[in-house]
Structures are given as C-alpha cells and as structure tokens.
C-alpha cells in the first residue's frame, strides 16, 4: 500500500475506533489515556518517520512496525506514569493493532472501492471519523483530568491515624500511628508510616495502590489488606515494634481482583510476606531475617512467588501451605536456619509444601539451607 500522509492519518484514526470502544467499556481512565497515547505516538511516527520512509509499505511490515510501536508505547506509558495493568494494556494494544490490520486489509477496501488507489484516504467518511475519534479521545482525556483523584501532598510529620474514605492520592510526608484505607481507588505514594498497630490497614476495598511506602516501628502488621485488591510496589518495612509483626499480610481477598506485592524490602519481622485465602503474585521482593517464615502462601491461596530473595529466614524460607496452589520459581533462598525445635518442618527448609498444598517449584537457587526443598503432610511438590 502506498499511503498518502492524509491516508495514513485517516486510516489510523478510523481503525482506533474498536480500541476506543474497548477503552470506554473498561470504564478506566488509564484505558482512554493509553488509547490517546497510542494514537499520539502513531501520528508522530506517521508524520515524522513512516511517510518519509515508506513510499510503498508492504503488508508484512505491520509486524515489525507493530513491535516497535508496542515498545515505544510501553516506554511512554512508564514515562508518563499511566498506571495501566500490563495484561489489560497489552490486550488493548492487541485490539488496536489487530483492528488496524483488519480495517486496512478488509474493511476499508470493502467499504470504499478507491481505498488503495486513494492512498488510504477515506473521503468524507474519513474526515468525519477522524473528528469523531479526536473528539472522543480529547473529551475522554478532559474528563479523566476533570475527575482525576484529588492529590493530597503531606509535608513534614502528620499525627495519625489517618482514615481515607474517598478516592484520592496521598503523596509524601511522615504519618505517625498508621493509615486506614476505606475507599476504592486510593493511591499512597512516597509515604512513610511510623508506629501504630498497622502501618497501612486496607479493608473491604479494591484498586488500592501503594507505591514506595515505607513502614517502621509497627506492632502488628506493616501493610495489612483484608478482603482487598491491592498493588504494593517498592515498599520498605523494617524495625518492627514487637515479635509478632508480619511485613505484608494479604488475607481473605479471594473475591477481589488479584493483588501483587513486588519490589519490597522487608527486614526483621516474624513473617515477611503472608497471604491467606487470596490470589497474590509475590515478585522480586527481598525478605531478610524473619523469625517464623520468609514468604507464606497459605490457606487455600493461589499465587506465585517469583524472583524473590529470602535471606537468613529462621525455620522456613518460602512455604506453600494449607491446600494452597503455588508457583514458586526463580527465587533465591539463602541461609535458612534451623529454629531449634526438632520439628523437621522448621529445620531450615528453603522451600516447603505443607498440609495438602500443591507447589510447582523450578529454577530456584538454594544456598546454605539445611532443610533443602521438601514436602510434608500430604503435600505435592513438583520440581523441574
């Protein structure tokens, strides 16, 4: 196809309609923002690169160009801090790419006889479609901006506990006595919590995001999510004010969207990261010197522990227990210690399946952990 510049732009805008419909159906502002980003990048490429580079563009080039645009879109999404779940973002991109191909090779030539000889121009239909798409995208972005979560910047030390009962973003500051989240769509960013029973206590809500939250000196749990869907990224939990502290606890959240704990550093707690009856991905965390277990996936949880470093755990490094189903891969467990109770299930076991649990275990590195990798009490441990 030899596109004219106008043909490229009209074809691209027209083919964005399915992705836009999906974005609207998702009812998430990030989806609108992502479609706008894809369109903006595509139009810039059309104007500055493709039109100059391709006097004729063969059909097969859609594959490499699609891959390039995907990479650029992802990079721009990260740079602009568009917080889209990766799987849905990929799905949306896939819809946009596929509809682009179907429109260009089937729908446009079917509906407009002169499509190919017209260089991809859509005539009056093209102009109307372009205006409609631009209106919806700009309108959507405007609505996203107008209804965006209010952002509260904390300065200095604030006496808590703070109770959040509306969608909002809390940025910065030091909160004494903990934060309680009681609303959906809440984001905490760069917040430090000192003291209290729970550092951040999230109950019966979802779409909560904790980004670079630091918790020190709590007496029960660093971050507690009960019946909640949370994304916890790059948190830090240390200096517990008691011997029963769990770093991150996600429990009874099976009916909520999947949670994720990634990139956190947790030190000196009783348990590092624990899940109960929840679907959680535990990825790329560093858990150090726990006194009970490093990472626990328990009580019929379904989840994955991937790429974590667990060091100096007393008793057990990573455990899948109580009828849970777990994928445990690419973790490093070093220096798991015998806890001195003669109980073989706590004999410095690096990775353990316990009580009817099913664990798929592969590509882990185990160092200086006398208990090795083991299954107890009717559990299945599949090693590859």
């Amino acid at each position: 196809m030899s596109y004219t510049l106008r043909g490229r732009v009209e074809s691209r805008l027209g083919a964005a309609v399915p992705a836009l419909v999906v974005a609207i159906a998702l009812q998430r502002w990030w989806a609108i923002e992502l479609v706008a980003l894809m369109l903006a990048l595509g139009l810039v490429l059309d104007l500055c690169v493709y039109h100059r580079l391709f006097a004729y563009q063969p059909a097969w080039s859609a594959l490499p160009l699609g891959a390039v645009e995907l990479g650029l879109t992802y990079a721009a999404m990260r740079a602009l801090d568009i917080r889209a779940p990766l799987d849905l973002a990929l799905l949306l991109y896939g819809v946009a790419w596929l509809s682009g191909q179907l429109f260009a090779h089937a729908l446009y030539p079917r509906l407009r006889l002169e499509y190919a000889e017209g260089g991809g121009e859509l005539g009056r239909l093209g102009g109307a479609t372009a205006v409609a798409v631009a209106t919806v995208v700009v309108g959507g972005l405007g609505a996203a901006y107008a209804t965006r979560q209010p952002t509260v910047h904390l300065h200095g030390v604030v006496q808590g506990p703070i109770v959040i009962t509306r969608s909002e973003t809390l940025v910065g500051g030091v909160v004494r006595g903990g934060i309680i989240v009681r609303a959906n769509h809440v984001t905490l960013r760069h917040v430090t919590v000192v003291g209290g029973d729970y550092g951040v206590n999230i109950e019966h809500v979802e779409h909560v995001m904790l980004d670079r939250v630091r918790v020190v000196g709590v007496s029960l749990d660093g971050i507690r999510a009960l019946d909640a869907g949370v994304m916890i990224d790059n948190c830090s939990i240390s200096s517990p004010a008691g011997s029963m502290v769990t770093g991150v606890l996600v429990s009874y959240s099976m009916g909520r969207p999947m949670s994720m704990v990634s990139g956190c550093t947790i030190a000196g707690t009783r348990e590092g990261i624990a899940t109960h009856s929840s679907m959680v991905d535990v990825m790329d965390n560093r858990v150090v010197d726990t006194t009970e277990r490093g990472i626990l996936l328990g009580e019929m949880s379904m989840g994955m522990a991937h790429g974590n470093d667990v060091e100096g755990a007393k008793g057990i490094g990573i455990i899948c227990m109580d009828r849970s189903v777990c994928e445990i891969d690419h973790n490093t467990v070093a220096g798991a210690r015998v806890d001195g109770t003669e109980d073989p299930t706590r004999g410095g076991v690096a990775i353990e399946a316990f009580f009817y649990a099913e664990a798929s275990v592969h590509h882990n590195t185990v160092v200086a952990s006398p208990g090795g990798v083991r299954a107890f009490d009717n559990s299945l441990l599949e090693q590859r």
Partner: protein, 361 residues
C-alpha cells in the same frame, strides 16, 4: 429505467467497469454494453492460453469484482496464498481468475445489458453522446482494449512467424522476439517443450514485479505524475512501456540451466530458426484504434504523442461537464493512470466514472 450509461467494449476492463457500476447501485437496465464478445473473458482467455500462462502477474486484489476484499488469495481457502499475499509473493492462478470473472459476470446481470455490436463512431451531442446514432447516453466509458497485436514489419508474411498471443506449438529451434512478460513466458514454454531457444532482443529486460512501480498505483505516486508537464509525462510513459517481467528463480533457473546445456542464447537479430514467435505485445497509441482516432479527429481532442490527453480521473476534459461524461479505460487511459492496461487500471477509471455518475444522478 432509461439507459443513461454506456460502456463501449466487452473485455475485462468493460466487465470490471460494469461490476463497479452495479456495485454502485445502477441497475442493468440503466447500462448498455456494446461489444463484439458476449463473454468478456474470451479474448484475454485465448491470449493467456496461447502463451500457456498459468499465474497472473497481478496479485490477490487483481480481480474484476468491485470491492478489492476479499481477494483471490482468500478464495483459495488455504493459508499459503494468504501468507504469500502478505509478503507480495502471491500471484493468482489464471484459472481461478477466470472462474471468478465468470462468476462476477453471471451475478452482475451483464447479459441483460450486453448488445453485440461494434461501435464505429461516438458523437457528442447536447445531453450526452450518440453511439452510431443510438442514444444519447449521458455517461460513456470507452474500454475497447488494445488496438491489435504488434507484429514486426519485416516478419509480416513470413510463414515461420506467429504472434505469442495466437495459438501455436513449438518447433525444434525457436526464435522469440521480445523481452517482456510474454517473451519470458515463451522462453520457459519452448524450453519445456524441448526446443532450442534464441532470444531476440535489443535490450536487457527490466525486472519489475508489476507493470509499474507500486507507488504509481495510488494517489501518492500519481500526484507528481499528474502534475508533470506533458513532455515529462509522455517520457515516463514511454519508459514504463519498456518490456519487463518479474524477477525470481522460477524465471531464471530454467533459463540458466538451458544456457548451460547450450539450448538458450541471446542474439540481436534473427537467424535461421524454424519458428519465430513474436512476443512483441500490442500496437500502441490512439491512432491505432479506429474508434478513438475518429473520436479525436471529430471533436478536435487534445492529444500528446500517441496519447489522448485525459484529466486525472480518466475523463476526456473537452467532452465532460456537469451533465455528461466521456471516460477512457484500458490501454488508452495511460495519460491518467500509467498502469491503465491492468485490472487496477480498469478499476481506477471505473471508480472515477461511477463517482461522476453518482454526482450527476
């Protein structure tokens, strides 16, 4: 419905135009087709059979139905042609192309519009055009095809000579004159028949996948072509009319093998071959077509070199206005579309013709 449109000609370009008009909502009763062959594929079919052509040079969308999609690759109901289409390597089988053309003709109502008659004269009148006194028709598209086979003068009357597009067999030694698609096809045919082949040509063939570079098939490449001066445009058309055929091992390997065996060689002039096949294409220029020559002379149409000067939409400017349209399609329309003698060219003229009819309906 009164006949407001007429198509003069009954070949593939006429069928493509007819299918386009029907797709545009014009009933068979509103179109008259004047031609010498009731079957619009007949002439082309005979020529393709003569050179034993098995694959089209065009690609998946090179068919006579109005919408480009679905193309012929999808109609094969196999994945390989679809994949080959994505990589520009698909060329539809000739029999599939012809079967599809037959189907388009059957469902279009062609028979209802067809009148078996050669039009000798087109006369402009106030509200359209009379065709040998019949009419007037407000909109006329002339798609009379190539004006005839080109035969080298020195071979006229030579009993050894036959044109590639006429039915023929192969002697033991065959001289093939020409260097285009038909010549290349004939080299392979004659070699496959066990003949010794001498290629008679004045220049090395151009290797090109399609008749013209791809950008010239769309507005992007056509815009500078249409903006060029008449001299530049004519020069480009002459350049594009030099013989060419696609590159690829399917063309080169049999010839290379025969060269090694001493069964294929190139010479500049004829020798004593038993048979001479003239793969020299068609006569060129509007003056070779009696109808077009008369049309230009009667109405004092602007011409340049061997072309009637056309507007970018393939219409004759002096005879086209808000009430009437005279369009050319096929080889005679190269002034508007350099690949006018292809299916893409036929459709280009037909689309513009339909647009004008819709505008004045």
């Amino acid at each position: 419905m009164a006949e407001r449109c007429a198509i003069v000609g009954s070949g593939l370009a006429a069928l493509a135009a007819y299918a386009t008009l029907r797709h545009g909502g014009i009933e068979p009763g509103g179109i008259a087709v004047f031609g010498t062959h009731a079957d619009p594929t007949e002439v082309w079919r005979t020529r393709a059979a003569s050179i034993r052509q098995r694959r089209m040079r065009s690609e998946s969308e090179g068919h006579v139905a109005a919408p480009a999609w679905p193309g012929l690759a999808l109609r094969e109901r196999r994945l390989t042609p679809v994949w080959e289409t994505l990589t520009n390597r698909y060329h539809p089988p000739v029999d599939l192309f012809l079967r599809h053309a037959d189907a388009v003709r059957a469902r279009s109502g062609w028979e209802q519009s067809f009148r078996q008659r050669r039009v000798e004269r087109i006369t402009a009148v106030d509200d359209g055009f009379e065709l040998d006194g019949e009419g007037p028709f407000a909109h006329v598209l002339v798609a009379t095809g190539h004006p005839g086979l080109a035969f080298p003068e020195r071979l006229v009357g030579d009993p050894r000579a036959v044109h590639a597009y006429e039915p023929h067999g192969y002697a033991a030694t065959v001289a093939i004159v020409g260097a285009g698609m038909a010549a290349a096809t004939e080299w392979l045919n004659a070699l496959a028949a066990g003949a010794e082949v001498v290629s008679i040509r004045r220049r090395e063939p151009v290797r090109r996948p399609l008749n013209v570079p791809r950008p010239l098939l769309s507005k992007r490449g056509l815009a500078p072509f249409h903006a060029a001066s008449p001299e530049r445009r004519a020069s480009l058309l002459r350049e594009l009319s030099t013989p060419s055929y696609p590159s690829g091992p399917e063309w080169d390997e049999p010839v290379a093998a025969a060269e090694r065996e001493g069964r294929f060689r190139v010479e500049a002039s004829l020798n004593g071959a038993e048979q001479v096949i003239c793969a020299t294409g068609f006569r060129r220029g509007y003056l070779e077509d009696a109808l077009l020559a008369r049309l230009a002379a009667d109405h004092g149409l602007e011409t340049h070199d061997r072309w009637i000067v056309l507007a970018p939409d393939s219409t004759v400017p002096a005879l086209t206005d808000g009430r009437r349209t005279l369009s050319l399609a096929g080889a005679a329309a190269q002034w508007a579309f350099p690949a006018a003698d292809t299916i893409a060219g036929a459709k280009y003229a037909a689309h513009a013709f339909l647009r004008r009819i819709c505008r004045t309906r």
